[in-house]
């Protein structure tokens, strides 16, 4: 069961890599509410990493409200208001947009141009959908 992918030699600590992957998997519904996550031991052994690293990621996800620790059951996905969930998703997208704009800036491409490109992509997608119907 190799659900997570990490690259140990990346500059991003392994616990952070795991944290962002699981966060995304909860937000996009790969892990559904009340679903049990593999145990710390299991993940550590699958990925050949220190169990402390996995615990750290799980702990952080618990702290931020994504996971709940159940006695004898391990970690399960927390049931949360649609509103809160929606907010989390928007926050994540917001981060991605910031990153996109920063990248564009480094390439010398203006914010306006990026907005234009997004609009064009949205328009193209709508055309495609219409085409299919």
């Amino acid at each position: 069961m190799e659900q997570f992918i990490i690259s140990p030699s990346s500059g991003i600590p392994i616990y952070k890599q795991l944290y962002s992957q699981i966060e995304r998997m909860v937000l996009n519904g790969y892990f559904s509410v009340d679903q049990r996550l593999p145990s710390v031991r299991q993940v550590a052994s699958d990925l050949d990493v220190n169990p402390m690293t996995v615990s750290k990621a799980y702990g952080l996800l618990e702290e931020r409200g994504y996971l709940t620790r159940l006695r004898g059951k391990g970690m399960v996905v927390t049931a949360r208001d649609d509103e809160v969930l929606q907010q989390e998703k928007l926050t994540m997208l917001d981060e991605m947009i910031k990153e996109l704009l920063a990248q564009a800036k480094q390439m010398g491409i203006s914010d306006d141009k990026v907005v234009q490109m997004i609009n064009r992509n949205v328009a193209n997608k709508q055309d495609e959908t219409v085409g299919k119907e």
Partner: protein, 288 residues
Amino acid sequence: MTCIVNVKGLTKSYKNQSVLKGLSWEIEPGDVVGLLGKNGAGKSTLLKSLLNISDIDSGEISIFGEQYNQLSSKNKARIGYVPQENDEISWLSVNDLINFRKQFYSTWSDEKVTELISRWEIDATKKIAELSPGQVQRVLIILALAPMPELLIFDEPAASLDPAGRRDFLKEILTLVSDENITVIFSTHITSDLERIANKVAILDKGKICYFNDLDITKESVVQLTVHCKKEQGITIPYLLRGKLHSQGQYGVVSQLDQAWLAEMKEQAVEVTINPMGLEDIFLELTA
């Protein structure tokens, strides 16, 4: 918390070459510490000093709270050591060597030995001298793990293992780490092994532990920065290890990320890009 290993002011020289120059180091229970250092930095000397295999010139070392050269036999049995080079009797068969070593320990696990011998496909009837370097290393690892030690010291344990053998060795260490509250110190040149299993990284350079920190904190603080500013702004990057000025701004590697400085930059609308680095690059930067 009491330290498992506590070193103060350790010095050691060979003839007139001084290797360890007043080295201090504290290892806490449960830590898995990766020790990095250039060739000849003195990693083996340091590890051998801890075990009283190599004489020291001055300094204090305590292990399990006892003076290192007066360890009780009970505490000695709590330490497992895998040397860089095989110093076992090479004309003995693996079986004989195991039975010989077994006599010295009351906590010896035959189960562990049998399991590892079969998993690592070692022909125990063969003499040590007849084994390949990788197989010898595996035997040494088995000898170190069999007494179920609480402190494991490895001197480049993976040096003669192939990638599959190395991974399997890491797995074994990780199992030990998750099952018992074991403390591990291992020297290595293979930073990716360290990144997988260690929670702390130590760097031995110029006779001292010049860097010792949590691995995650290390990756979050030793980073490359690009500061998008003009020369006239006269911005100084704090904790700079190495820096360069160019037309687009300043580039640098820092040993620590100064949050107050970052906030100040934000206030001045100076853009700072942070790029994390892998441990190999971090090691090179810190010992440059």
